[in-house]
Symmetry: C2
Subunit: 524 residues, 2 copies
């Protein structure tokens, strides 16, 4: 199936005279074809189609929605190697990594299909009538969650499959019953194009209303802004930069009807190395750290950009091990020239900072736009005075914070902004100190890890990929895992409804799945 | 226990030289004592105390938090008649109504105590490790919800007990593990003062950190603005005007760290009278409508301010019945002179509107600030041209919309903003039409009722008191019922934690209550 360059507006393919091209970040080669640029007319049509589709799609039975998600997964797999090759050409990510990411993407779709069949996602609560209650009878009250409406999903540059056209937010929104309009990332439009072909095919196979899925491409901010401002759009999912996310939040807040924006933005993912762990295995931790830091050329939201430890010979052992390991890592091409140049600037800013010391760089590379790893250190007292050193540098750069004592360690953690993750390396001997740090870490982060690395986010029921501002714009949610379905739902209560008028899942004889009855929890 | 006029900052009583007084709305009599006005220093102290208290209170076992809520309920009841009398003097609400509202208030506190013991509120999810999974082992992942942090609750004028100092948001926040700072409503400071005495006594009896509860009074906007802007405040609950709610949302969004604001603002609660119901019982519905409209001088958020029906003789029967019933209702004193004058202006604006017809007024009254009922009608086509007629008039004013046909009925509903409630009156013969209207109603409202009246909100598990903007600023939540606890929580995932480091509720041998294990729902 060739890359079309079209806009996907429901079942229609639209070609525009204005197009844009992308180049391979690894070779500079201009990739064919040109991609149509969506304008106000296409925004209007896609949003209107989504709005029309919403009315039937939102009441489609969960089994049919589940089959749609599975069909989408099958269609994505059916794209075969062409998808991986195109994604590789556009992002320079290795085929092996993209193969894994594709598995994760279809796995997400299938997990949400399972979740739909589990039934609990509707959050049903039934309080039966009490006609004889004094002084007043109690009415029959039934609660379920309904979808918010059409959702705009912004594709992310760093996961061209798993956080893009058919990624986590798309899977969660479609599972919830919300049509999706994807604003494709301008760095991988061909990858988006192929996945959109799979999605529209799945819509057709499942005989769904066409507006359930659209993909609009473009290379200006007007497209995203226009989508977020459209009155038929009721929620937004975004993964990207802090500036980009905040701009969308502002547009959403200034609408006549404000809408929720789930923007995942900025995180440096602090890692705390406790004394016992450093004493026991400083070298091993150093190697594991560099593996996590340089994975995917450091282009993960959960990349460990800050390491905190108490000063001493064991920390020096860790630094020596990490520095040596980093020196062995050949640099690779970053996702885009823009990301590479922002990385270089971030590294340079740290390198030139009066209080920051450069410890090590990755091996030199010969390819284009290579992100060469960088490891720095700073004294904790200087972090408190120079908060700019903790700004995210997207890529394989990390800053080691030398703490003179436990108080400095705690103060530095307390001083950090909200994070996606926080990590502790510890032994049993470190448990008392870890317990003292944990309250701060869990207040700061959406996920706290012990003796692991934050890169690599499991797609399961208990995962939280979120966290306090500015890690995300809404800490009450997650963008990965089945809990993500809740971000696109809201509760509605039905009072004293005749059974025939109730939505099907709330009727007397409906199979309700896990729900609450008069407050009691029931599994079916 | 006399009304003190103090500010309640943790366990301390603070007197300020600047004070304000309130007058009885029914008599104009100036009530004693004067109330201290909180300034920036008191904001700072209350927020700092709340922040300090948060660290221990949030990890307090649910049973102790439940006992605290029950103790608070007991202490409020122990205030005895003095509380009812003071509330009556400040609000002009009848003693019988206030007695019922007090029962609801302590009932809410006790219901949240039960909810804490139920355990499901923590949303625990456990995905056990899969050490042998290929290609990579799966870590152990455990999710729980933790409280957001100190919450500012704004007392509402129209429920001096149930939506005020120890009202719904306070109960939900305290249950969630969030300390509460109440910004007392300036119209009933004495009522707030007495309830604050009960709350601080409960804090003392339960030996909790003092910052768990504070009450600040004042009569300027600076107090509320200062509280919402304070960095230690992490969420806000508000019930009041649209302008007031939007102002707080703006402050919260412009903070360096934006925070959620749950503002319940504006709703006219459409009631649709379907043809079968009108044919069967137009007169009875007319009487029931007026009873709901004039309850509490129409000062309910769920007051039925808009009635829609198809034109015809049955609608005229309803109008005649409602007009006659309204003429019998003696007006009563409204909550404040300001609310009364806004009501009068709203009624006058409708009465003078070229497309609006005055149908009936309530009986004339002789008391002060009496809210005399008002019933208007308009043609549906004019509603679409003059949207200003659907702006909320807080009080016993309602507008009947005459629809020429089903299309006009649907168009008018579609044209409405978000609502707390929507109501259908119907018979079996109306079910097909009701089913066609329902999708619009549930998209517009947080609660949909059949053959009832929206005033009177049950405090149960399945209640939703919320709805799309501008009914509230966040449709994903409810301010009444046990689901309200979720508005003050966020999820955190713990990855591969040694058992000893896990928070107690997530440990291997903990009693977890209702939770999910590897995706499966378990009740214990």
């Amino acid at each position: 199936m060739p890359v079309s360059g079209d806009l996907f507006i429901g079942s229609q393919r639209v070609k525009k005279s204005e197009t844009f091209f992308v180049s391979s970040p690894a070779t500079g080669e201009k990739l064919q074809p040109g991609f149509s640029v969506a304008g106000p007319e296409e925004i209007e049509r896609a949003c209107n189609l989504a709005w029309t589709a919403f009315h039937t799609y939102r009441e489609l039975d969960p089994e049919s929605r589940a089959r749609f998600l599975e069909t989408a997964a099958d269609q994505i797999m059916a794209l075969g190697d062409e998808l991986l090759e195109r994604a590789h050409a556009e992002t320079a990510l290795p085929i092996a990594r993209l193969t894994g990411e594709r598995a994760r993407t279809v796995g997400q779709l299938r997990l949400f299909a399972t979740e739909l069949r589990n039934g609990g996602w509707m959050g049903i609560r039934i309080d039966p009538a009490m006609p004889d209650r004094k002084p007043l009878p109690r009415p029959d009250l039934r609660l379920r969650k309904i979808p918010l409406g059409p959702v705009v999903v912004f594709g992310a540059s760093n996961f061209p499959l798993a956080f893009s056209v058919a990624g986590g937010d798309t899977a969660a929104a479609l599972a919830a019953g919300c049509p999706v309009i994807v604003k494709g990332h301008s760095a991988h439009p061909g990858t988006s194009d192929l996945v959109a072909q799979a999605m529209t095919e799945a819509v057709k196979i499942c005989k769904l209303p066409e507006g359930v899925f659209s993909l609009l491409n473009g290379n200006s901010r007007a497209l995203g802004a226009g989508l977020v401002a459209h009155p038929h759009v009721k929620a937004v999912g975004f993964t990207g930069s802090r500036a980009g996310g905040l701009a969308l939040v502002k547009i959403a807040n200034e609408r006549p009807e404000p809408i929720p924006v789930y923007a995942e933005m900025s995180s440096i993912n602090p890692v705390v190395l406790l004394p016992g762990a450093l004493a026991a295995r400083a070298e091993e931790i150093g190697k594991g750290f560099v593996a996590s830091l340089t994975m995917g050329v450091g282009q993960f939201c959960t990349n460990p950009g800050l390491v905190l430890a108490l000063e001493g010979p064991d920390l020096e052992k860790f630094i020596a091990s990490a520095s040596a390991a980093l020196g062995q890592v050949a640099p690779a091409t970053m996702l885009t020239p823009g990301i590479h140049s922002a990385y270089e600037q971030g590294v340079e800013k740290l390198a030139n900072h009066s209080r920051v010391k450069l410890l090590a760089r990755g091996a030199e590379g010969t390819g284009m736009h290579c992100g060469r790893g960088a490891l720095f250190s700073i004294a904790a007292e200087d972090v408190l005075k120079h908060p700019e050193v903790t700004e995210e540098v997207f890529g394989a750069s990390s800053l080691i914070v030398r703490c003179a004592n436990e108080k400095e360690l705690l103060d530095t953690l307390e001083h950090l902004e909200g994070q996606l993750t926080a990590t502790l390396h510890l032994t049993d001997a470190d448990l008392p100190l870890a317990s003292r740090l944990l309250p701060t870490l869990e207040r700061k982060a959406g996920r706290v890890l012990a003796n692991g690395w934050p890169t690599g986010v499991e797609v399961t029921h208990a995962m939280v990929h979120g966290g306090p501002f500015p890690a995300t714009s809404d800490s009450r949610s997650t963008s990965v895992g089945t809990l993500a379905i809740e971000r696109f739902l809201r509760p509605v209560c039905y009072q004293d409804f005749p059974d025939a008028l109730l939505p099907a899942p709330l009727r007397q004889d409906a199979t309700k799945g896990p729900h609450r009855y008069d407050g009691a929890y029931r599994t079916e």
